[in-house]
């Protein structure tokens, strides 16, 4: 049975010059980070810019990296800060549809099912677009990064009660929005 190396160990190996360790680490986290940024920004170009910026910062910070906290916490704190910086730098990022078809998996042999899924995804994104940025951020950190309330509080720099409140409101609004009858265009 092979032992799966921890994220911190991979980062330390990369710090020592092991590029394959970074590749493993990157492939482990890239998709969830990408989706987090895609839904947080609601814009594919912004998500890609911030995504590249985040990994660039991780690469640059390798010499200073200390495994004092989980790598996931470190990664999403960097991502959260990068997104805030991006929004400030660009005054307000351009919100557009995150539903670009070129970043979807291959629909395969079931186009009807995929069309239904695409429609449901549009509704989800629309519902996510209606909730405030802070609530969306907390919800996505929970769903995509799998962070606990305490960790989300660390990443976003607020106390845990605020995080609980944001999660509660976000879930309530999403549930209401998704429960509304679907209207096919």
């Amino acid at each position: 049975m092979s032992v799966i190396p921890e994220d911190s160990a991979l980062m330390l190996r990369y710090k020592d010059g092991d590029v394959t360790a970074f590749e493993t680490l990157y492939r482990r986290h890239k998709d969830s980070l990408y989706r987090y940024l895609l839904r947080l920004s609601q814009n594919r170009d912004t998500a890609e810019d911030v995504f590249q910026d985040v990994w660039g910062k991780i690469i640059k910070a390798r010499h200073r990296y200390r495994p004092t906290a989980k790598f996931t916490t470190f990664l999403y704190r960097v991502a959260h800060n990068c997104f805030i910086d991006y929004v400030r730098r660009n005054n307000r990022h351009r919100v557009a549809s995150a539903m670009d078809p070129d970043c979807r998996p291959d629909p395969g042999d079931e186009p009807d099912l995929e069309a239904e899924k695409s429609f449901a995804r549009q509704r989800l994104d629309a519902a996510l677009g209606t909730i405030p940025d802070e609530q969306r951020d907390a919800f996505l950190l929970h769903e995509e990064a799998g962070l606990s309330i305490n960790t989300i509080a660390q990443v976003t720099g607020v106390n845990r009660e605020t995080v609980r409140s944001r999660l509660r409101y976000a879930t309530k609004k999403l549930k209401t929005a998704l429960a509304e009858p679907a209207v096919h265009t």
Binding site: R39, W55, I59, R62, L124, G146, L178
Partner: protein, 240 residues
Amino acid sequence: MNQDHDKHEAIDVDPQVSAHYQSLADEETPADLDNAVLREAARAVRADSRKGSFQAWYRPAAVMATVGLTLAIILDLSDPGIFSPAADMSLETALPVQTPADTTADRGPEPAQLLRMQPDLAPAATQPEGAPLEDHTGLSDVFTAEVEREKQRVQEMEAAAGTALKPAPNAAAKFARPRPAIALKPLLPEAPFACSDEQKSDVEEWWQCIATLRQSGQAAAADLELDNFREIFPDFELPE
């Protein structure tokens, strides 16, 4: 996807909403973005290795250069010759202070005189063999004369300006410092380097001189004298 949730936390997320989200969120990172990030990571490591190899020789070289320079400065400063009175004196002697009142005749020693005043430049080889090295440079006389001239000039200036100027005591003391006569130790006090003409005039004395040369370890000189001796006195019976 990371499922890193703290199981002890009471997460306020509706499980149905969470499940709905998880079933729909399946976007993947574009391949060009993957390539760009991985390329950047590899480039950073390559840059590290280049930087490391540069530092491998740069740092020791810098340390060695620093240590070498420091030692050179310390040794240079601790050289007693820089602060020795002899060096100080030679500098003052070589560069006499010029004053507006100086005349052509009162400019100090001429260059030839300066050369004689330098003790290191005095040719020791010109001294007679075996004779003690006397102070033939006349250095003390020159210094005394210099001090006298200096005193006279100061007195003239005092008389002219009416002020009580005094000569520099240190300079006078240096000039008036007695210089001990240096005696050369004779190289061969007991044996002459070669036999004199007076010795060569008498066969017994010449032969004695050759024997003395040989006893004092000057075998080559003794052989040379012996050859000459045999040419002049071929009939002389050499003792064993």
